[in-house]
């Protein structure tokens, strides 16, 4: 479940950064249209990979349940963290993505 969680959190942060309002709050930069595309694609890609990783380790029913669970948890974490510690929220996403190969290795 850890790998799926890390990827979900990273994916949601990317999707969040693809929105003008949140991009400005989190990174204090204006969002260019190319960045918007990039973040959006990256976000959906990360979420898809997290789904695949959740289904790959266990039977599809349990995998699906676990994926939805980490999906909801990561979204909650991000949204509740952002207004209080925006830099931490983004940093965590970076750390998650860096840690995901390790988590992947541990999983298989």
């Amino acid at each position: 479940m850890l790998l799926a969680l890390l990827l979900c959190y990273g994916g949601f942060t990317a999707l969040c950064l693809s929105m003008d309002r949140h991009h400005a709050d989190l990174l204090r930069r204006k969002l260019s249209s190319r960045s918007r595309q990039l973040f959006r694609v990256a976000g959906w890609l990360l979420l898809s990979v997290s789904l695949w990783s959740a289904l790959a380790v266990t039977d599809w029913a349990l995998g699906l349940v676990e994926w939805f669970a980490v999906l909801m948890l990561s979204a909650l974490l991000l949204v509740l963290l952002m207004p209080y510690r925006p830099r931490l929220a983004v940093a965590l996403a970076g750390i998650s993505l860096l840690a995901s190969p390790i988590a992947a290795f541990a999983q298989y």
């Binding site: 479940m1 349940v65 939805f68 999906l71 979204a75 949204v79 952002m82 207004p83």
Partner: protein, 525 residues
């Protein structure tokens, strides 16, 4: 109501949410607590040791016990211990129930290692929250009907809320704290939208669970009014023969476990039911422990002949519609969830509870603003305010009092379990009275503070009244006990913070009201 679809749905969401919000808050909170009902029961009956024993050994001990104490009973029910439920529970029904009625059962808890009765304090434990959240302490079947109606209203409120939420994607990540009513609405949307898969699942599944009761039209139409025929087709293991009146020895039950496991390619047995034990028409039904798969299989029970020990019927493959219904059941119950997933279920349940709670607060807050200047609240709003306080902070106080009663009531007291439950309702009732006599904000602060104290002090209470306190449980690794103490402590801290915020909000409001007359005077000049 000519303003348009979205506005009509907003109206529906607001009023459906208000009328059933208080009941749904109670259902969601107690249901969420029920995800840890086994751990709660363990904390409330700390005398029962948590030991791992083989199912075969436990079953043999249970059979011996029942042979001695309930030889002439018409039915034995044995619940085998598992990772979360350390106790071996036996129940028996002395005489068969009249058709359509529920039988009278005697229940005993046995030590799975010795087979002797456990001397543990009489309590309902976590089962109380589990049963309350769908039976609502009402006589059968009225509680179930009411909770299922509430579930349907919840479903309507969820969908109408989604329709009304125009910027559901744009505002997906939006949460703006410290902005008054805006923040409450952001919070309500956050716990609603971000946890939506859970909310939809839990709500629809609760409808499916009682669908035979609330929507029997299909059964009656297809089976020409013979509902029993439908149930025996879907739950084949429930076809029981009557007693033959011929005493015949019951074979050992333990070897049947292995044969059942073969049927399920590795699943575990959860419950053993013996019908007409010691009779020529005896049968033994082994039901699967739900914790190894998501989809609950109602037809998976394996039946053995109660004289020869022969397997009577193999488990049929589960047809798709039954698998779908079983999935709803399994997902709702979450039996399959390991520790991490169980905590996630708990968090999602709390999110649902918070969604309802914030909704109730917003409903009142919006309308209170219109009457803030006059200082007098119309009757309807005062009613909502009192019900909000009693149903939310009052309920939390009642939960805490339930735990306190478990530790403080004398162990030898008669009807002890009943009195723990009575304490719960007495405390809840008193919180309603308190909310009636105190002013809104004051009542909130006082009740939240009381709840914070009661829950936060639970670990200390535990240490003072039993030898199984945090100092011991953390070392021995009894995570259920330690986790319970720590969760109560954490909840207490959260409630203390909430009470403090409420108090600060009241002070800011008082300051604002005092400064207003000065401004008006200046303007007049």
């Amino acid at each position: 109501m000519k303003e348009g679809f979205r506005q009509a749905m907003a109206w529906l969401h607001t009023w459906a949410g208000l009328t059933f919000g208080w009941l749904l808050f109670a259902i969601f909170l107690t249901g969420t607590l029920a995800y840890f009902k086994d751990e709660t029961s363990h904390w409330m009956q700390p005398e029962i040791p948590a030991r791992s024993v083989s199912s075969e050994a436990s079953l043999a001990l249970a059979q011996d016990y029942l042979q001695q104490h309930a030889a002439g009973a018409s039915r034995w029910i044995i619940e085998l211990p598992n990772a979360r439920e350390p106790a071996l529970s036996v129940r028996w029904q002395q005489s068969p129930a009249k058709p359509g009625e529920r039988g009278q059962l005697t229940a005993k808890l046995l030590d799975p290692q010795t087979g002797r009765e456990v001397q543990a304090r009489d309590t309902q434990g976590g089962e109380f929250f589990y049963r309350f959240h769908f039976q609502l302490q009402m006589p059968y079947p009225w509680g179930r009907w009411l909770s299922t109606i509430a579930a349907m209203v919840m479903f309507v409120a969820l969908i109408s809320g989604i329709i009304t939420h125009k910027k559901i994607f744009k505002d997906f990540f939006t949460f703006r704290p410290r902005k008054g009513q805006r923040s409450w609405l952001d919070g309500h949307n956050a716990v609603g939208v971000l946890v939506l898969p859970f909310h939809l699942m839990i709500t629809y599944s609760s409808l499916v669970i009682f669908m035979s009761m609330v929507m029997p039209a299909s059964i009656l139409a297809s089976y020409n009014g013979d509902a029993k025929a439908f149930f025996s087709e879907v739950f084949p293991a429930t076809n029981i023969m009557e007693s033959a009146g011929k005493p015949t020895p019951l074979p050992p039950l333990a070897p049947m476990l292995e044969k059942a496991r073969e049927q399920w390619s590795g699943g575990q047995v959860g419950r053993v039911t013996v019908n007409n034990p010691g009779d020529a028409n005896a049968s033994v039904v082994l039901a699967r422990d739900g914790s190894d798969r998501v989809v609950h299989d109602f037809g998976s029970a394996v039946t053995f002949n109660g004289v020869t020990g022969q397997l009577l019927a193999a488990t049929p493959a589960q047809p798709l519609p039954m698998a779908i219904a079983g999935s709803f059941y399994g997902l709702h119950m979450g039996h399959f969830a390991g520790p991490v997933l169980r905590w996630l279920y708990f968090v999602c349940g709390l999110a649902g509870t918070a969604m309802i709670g914030t909704g109730l607060v917003i409903w009142l807050g919006k309308r209170q603003l219109k009457h803030a200047k006059s200082g007098v609240m119309p009757f309807e709003l005062r009613l909502v305010e009192v019900l909000n306080i009693a149903s939310m902070s009052g309920l939390v106080i009642a939960v805490a009092v339930f735990f306190w009663a478990n530790r403080l009531l004398p162990l030898e007291m008669t009807e002890r379990a009943g009195w723990e439950v009575n304490s719960f309702f007495i405390a809840w009732g008193l919180s309603l009275v308190h909310a009636l006599v105190r002013r809104g904000r004051t009542a909130w602060v006082e009740q939240l503070t009381l709840a914070a104290l009661l829950l936060g002090v639970v670990p200390l209470l535990n240490a003072l009244t039993t030898p199984w306190h945090l100092g011991v449980t953390l070392i021995t690794g009894d995570w259920a006990m330690a986790g319970f103490d720590l969760t109560c402590l954490g909840s207490g801290l959260f409630l203390a913070w909430a009470a403090w915020k409420m108090q600060r909000g009241a002070e800011t409001e008082a300051v604002r009201q005092r400064s207003r007359p000065i401004t008006l005077e200046q303007e007049a000049n």
